[in-house]
């Protein structure tokens, strides 16, 4: 075939082949050996894939040219290459980490082969989703991705928590794929083709396109975790093995974002209400996501809610992009979509960093409850530093990568207000304040997480904090990416700008590359340099005038215990009390009535509003309805054959009448 003569394509196909090959190495009898060889092979495959992506037109100075292989089944355009890059970039550190994480299971004499098989299939199918150019291939990859992720999540299936959580995931992904089927059948109905490159619809052509748009927001929104559809996320992510949670939260959610952007390419330009629709949903997701996170004690559930927040921020960018597209303003489009795309990459990086960090802590302490942790900075200094980098980045604070993408989104707001005038400045200001509010809440949340897990003194004793070199490699890679995107954003911004130029905007605009990125490099470097120089001076002064450690001030009381420290609940209590009704935040204080009280108890708890007030009641109603037709459920198989025949008859009747 002609397209196979291209070295880039050969490299990509070889990468997929090697990734698939890694399953073969699982046939080793020795678990440890199987784990190691298959992971290393997987890594080689992923690295090859990354090299082929890096050597593509996405990273060269030329414009992006779309490449089609296998007679158009697979197509590599800007968006595909970008998401492929994100997946491969983050999959490498998580795979490195899985070597050390899964070794713990091997030591407990548990077979990890099934998990690795599904993990590998998950990685491959996720990569296929973003490069598929044909609806059937896309849907099949999507289904494979969902199912393999499900089987990987239920790895510790004997635990009841895992059974419930994974069922949430299973149910949500099934509703979702059903909606995706409808979307692509509608596309096929309208255009008569299964190929993505043939899909061009316009909003002016009737009611079909708005329906597709709403369906895609719901369908892909379930995957991405936008607010009313987020309920499965905090259930499924905490119970998955940490390697998988890192990949789920960092990358898999982004397939939802990919889907929304892909659909946008099919039906652009958008009318303006689409932009407002996405913008409002996103702001709600961002604010409530981070607020729910603040109320959690389970570290992985907390991080899962932060994914809802970050998906909200990405959505805000997409919303601005839609508004720009509606008003034919390339500058606004570039800033909106640019912020969204860069935040997609950034969130993938720092979220997997945080999940892997929490996994290392979990392996050593055996609990996910942060109230039982504390003082881990002493036994695990470098893990604490790496986790801190991720925390600063996710809070959107300079000098790391989270700030860069949020900055672009802010510039998008300013640009929209400037270009459209009228009542837009006020509306945009409201969203700016919303985003700033999210930033403030994220600061509160991550100072809480960091200080309760790592700072202070140990609440439960840690005798030996075990870390392996793989932990440091994977965390180090991710932290380095956080730092480099923060300190030197130009190349990454350039890549994002190219992706947008390839089939997003209505016209050319240099709004993204025109931002004075050099200032950021200079300012952040001078902060780092300033801190370093001051540190040297400080050391010198301390040598001269002395420095020592002494007990903390306790008003003269000397027997301070770790239990007297501020806890996560008390730190967040004041903030959680404000939206009490939405967070379903309950506090219970039991004070003993004795004259000499010995023990008092305090308990705080928050339930997900959507889960407890909407999803579960809806399911109960459904169950009641199903109970009414339960008489149809018979033990005799002939009844079922009868039902199937009746259904087929009804379908054929409809088909007959339709034509």
């Amino acid at each position: 075939m002609k397209e196979l003569s291209d070295t880039g394509n050969v490299l990509l196909i070889a990468a997929f082949a090697i990734q698939l090959l890694s399953i073969v190495f699982l046939s080793f009898k020795n678990e440890r050996k199987a784990l190691f060889t298959s992971n290393i092979t997987m890594l080689v495959g992923l690295t090859l894939g990354l090299i082929s992506t890096l050597s593509s037109t996405l990273f060269s100075s030329a414009e992006i040219t779309s490449v089609s292989i296998f007679s158009g089944l697979i197509r590599l355009d800007g968006l595909s290459l970008y998401f492929l890059f994100v997946i491969q970039l983050v999959a490498i550190p998580t795979t490195i980490y899985s070597i050390s994480y899964l070794r713990h299971y091997v030591e407990q004499k548990r077979s990890v082969k099934s998990f690795i098989t599904f993990y590998i299939i998950l990685l491959i199918s996720t990569q296929f989703i973003v490069i598929a150019n044909q609806a059937i291939l896309f849907l099949v990859s999507w289904e494979v991705m969902s199912i393999s992720a499900y089987f990987a999540i239920v790895y510790e299936k004997e635990s009841e928590e895992v059974q419930t959580g994974s069922f949430y995931y299973f149910a949500a992904s099934h509703v979702l794929i059903f909606i995706l089927y409808i979307i692509f059948f509608l596309f096929h109905h309208e255009t008569g083709s299964w190929f993505f490159s043939d899909y061009h619809l316009s909003f002016s052509s009737g009611l079909m396109v708005p329906v597709i748009f709403i369906l895609s927001i719901i369908g892909f929104g379930i995957k991405a975790g936008f607010m009313p559809f987020h309920f499965w996320l905090p259930q499924a992510h905490p119970i998955a093995p940490t390697v998988l949670s890192a990949f789920l939260s960092g990358v898999l959610l982004k397939t939802g974002i990919y889907g929304i952007l892909r659909i946008y390419q099919f039906i652009k330009p958008m009318p303006e209400w689409c932009g407002w629709f996405v913008l409002v949903i996103s702001v709600i997701s961002a604010i409530l996501g981070v607020w729910y996170a603040l109320a959690q004690h389970d570290i992985k559930r907390l991080l899962a809610y932060h994914s809802v927040e970050n998906i909200g921020i990405i959505g805000i960018g997409i919303g601005i992009g839609f508004i720009g597209s509606a008003n034919n303003l390339p500058a606004v489009e570039v800033l909106g979509f640019g912020g969204a795309l860069l935040h997609t990459l950034n969130h993938a990086i720092f979220k997997s960093l945080l999940f892997i960090g929490s996994g290392v802590v979990y392996q050593n302490l055996g609990t996910r409850n942060i109230e039982l942790m504390g003082g881990l900075v002493h036994p695990a200094k470098y893990i604490a530093i790496l986790f801190l980098i991720g925390s600063v980045a996710i809070s959107g604070i300079p000098p790391f990568n989270g700030f860069i993408s949020e900055f672009i989104i802010y510039m998008g707001f300013f640009k929209t207000a400037n270009e459209l005038k009228n009542y837009y400045p006020i509306l945009m200001l409201m969203f700016v304040v919303g985003l700033a509010f999210v930033g403030g809440l994220a600061v509160a949340c991550f100072t809480k997480v960091n200080s309760i897990i790592f700072l202070g003194s140990e609440r439960s004793e840690v005798k030996h904090f075990h870390t392996s070199v793989y932990d440091y490699i994977s965390l180090g890679i991710l932290a380095l990416l956080c730092i480099s995107i923060g300190f030197y954003p130009q190349p990454f911004v350039g890549v994002v700008n190219k992706v947008i130029a390839n089939g997003f905007t209505t016209g050319a605009s240099s709004a993204l590359v025109d931002i004075d990125w050099l200032y950021f490099t200079m300012i952040f470097s001078s902060i780092a340099l300033g801190v370093f120089v001051l540190y040297l001076i400080k050391i010198k002064l301390e040598k001269k005038y002395g420095r020592r450690n002494s007990a903390a001030w306790g008003c003269g009381y000397e027997n301070l215990t770790p239990r007297m420290q501020y806890t996560a609940s008390s730190f967040a209590d004041e903030l959680n009390t404000i939206p009490k009704a939405i967070l379903d935040y309950h506090k219970k204080v039991e004070v003993s009535e004795n004259a000499f009280p010995l023990q008092s108890k305090f308990k705080s708890h928050s339930k997900d509003f959507v889960d407890s007030k909407i999803v579960l009641p809806a399911f109960n109603v459904l169950r009641a309805l199903v109970a009414k037709i339960e008489f149809l459920s018979q033990t005799d198989i002939r009844y079922y054959i009868g039902f199937i025949l009746i259904i087929i008859a009804i379908y054929s009747m409809i088909a007959f009448l339709w034509t």
Binding site: P398, N450, D516, I523, S526, N549, G554, L560
Partner: protein
């Protein structure tokens, strides 16, 4: 060297040099108004000089966080100060969008300040940290509803340009700016831990926010924290005084005179406010902050519909 860069560097030196003096003046005003003689205006310098020669004592449970946090605090505040127009001059750092960087870089200060407080592992510091995190959240919208709204109205996104877009053209805009400056003053009071939100002079740990967070610091660490708090107060003073830009258009000299007069007037205002108000109960502070936010929103809405 370029004149603008020279001006920017001089601005930073002025901020670093004058910040303690400004704090000393506020304290002197307050003392005089309450009928005391008060410490000399240069007292903050003496205190800094004393602190730098003291032994540094770290709490025994603390980590590297409480050792580097004071450094990050000071360095970051200096960078923030470099974005402000001292004496209406062009600052060293000025580019489109620096209003966002300014707000977020103060977030970096806050992040490490809270971490350093929690690092001690004492509930005193924990209390202060939790309060700081909560109140900072309510303070954030005030900044955007005041300076941010001027930015949205004028279309500029750099602090220098935003202040230079202020004009005395029509009455509704003038009223808008005046009310904005009131909101900024309320914000400054919160962020700089002054009365009625926080009391910089109290020694009762349970009632403090900023002071309790640095309770266990001493020596060079305390020096850095104190100095940073003076710089921070002066930063907010510049944010406030810069509203007088329209009166200083004629020449540099008039600008500088107006700037100095404005700063002195501000110390007087802070002194008066601290004399006539008492510190609010912790429970009421969010209400105070929401009040400032509400002023900002109402002000913006009224301006939009009357212009």
């Amino acid at each position: 060297m370029d004149l603008e860069i020279l001006q920017g560097i001089i601005s930073i030196i002025i901020i670093l040099g004058v910040a303690p003096l400004f704090a000393g003046m506020v304290n002197k005003q307050k003392a005089v108004l309450t009928g005391r003689v008060g410490a000399p205006i240069l007292q903050p310098y003496y205190e800094l000089q004393r602190l730098i020669k003291k032994e540094t004592i770290n709490a025994s449970g603390s980590s590297f966080i409480s050792r580097i946090s004071p450094l990050i605090n000071l360095v970051t505040l200096i960078i923030a100060a470099a974005m402000l127009p001292v004496g209406f001059w062009k600052p060293l750092i000025s580019f489109d969008g620096d209003i966002i960087l300014f707000a977020y870089i103060l977030g970096l200060v806050r992040f490490f300040q809270i971490l350093a407080a929690m690092d001690i592992g004492s509930s005193f510091e924990g209390m202060g940290a939790a309060r700081e995190a909560t109140f900072a959240l309510f303070a954030e919208p005030i900044f955007f509803f005041t300076i941010g709204s001027i930015s949205f109205i004028s279309g500029f996104t750099s602090l220098y340009d935003i202040y230079h877009s202020i004009q005395l053209t029509n009455i509704s805009y003038e009223v808008f700016i005046i009310i904005c400056s009131i909101s900024v003053f309320m914000l400054a009071v919160t962020e700089c831990s002054r009365m009625p939100v926080d009391d910089p002079n109290t020694h009762l740990e349970l009632t403090m926010i900023h002071e309790v967070m640095i309770l266990d610091n001493s020596g060079i660490d305390l020096f850095l924290y104190q100095y940073s708090s003076y710089v921070k107060l002066f930063i907010y003073a510049i944010l406030e005084v810069s509203f007088f830009y329209p009166f200083s258009k004629q020449s540099y000299l008039i600008g500088i005179i107006i700037f100095i007069t404005g700063a002195i007037a501000l110390t007087f205002l802070l002194g008066v406010v601290e004399t006539i108000t008492s510190r609010y109960r912790m429970k009421n502070i969010p209400q105070y902050l929401l009040f400032a936010t509400a002023i900002g929103i109402l002000n913006l809405l009224i301006y939009t519909f009357t212009k």
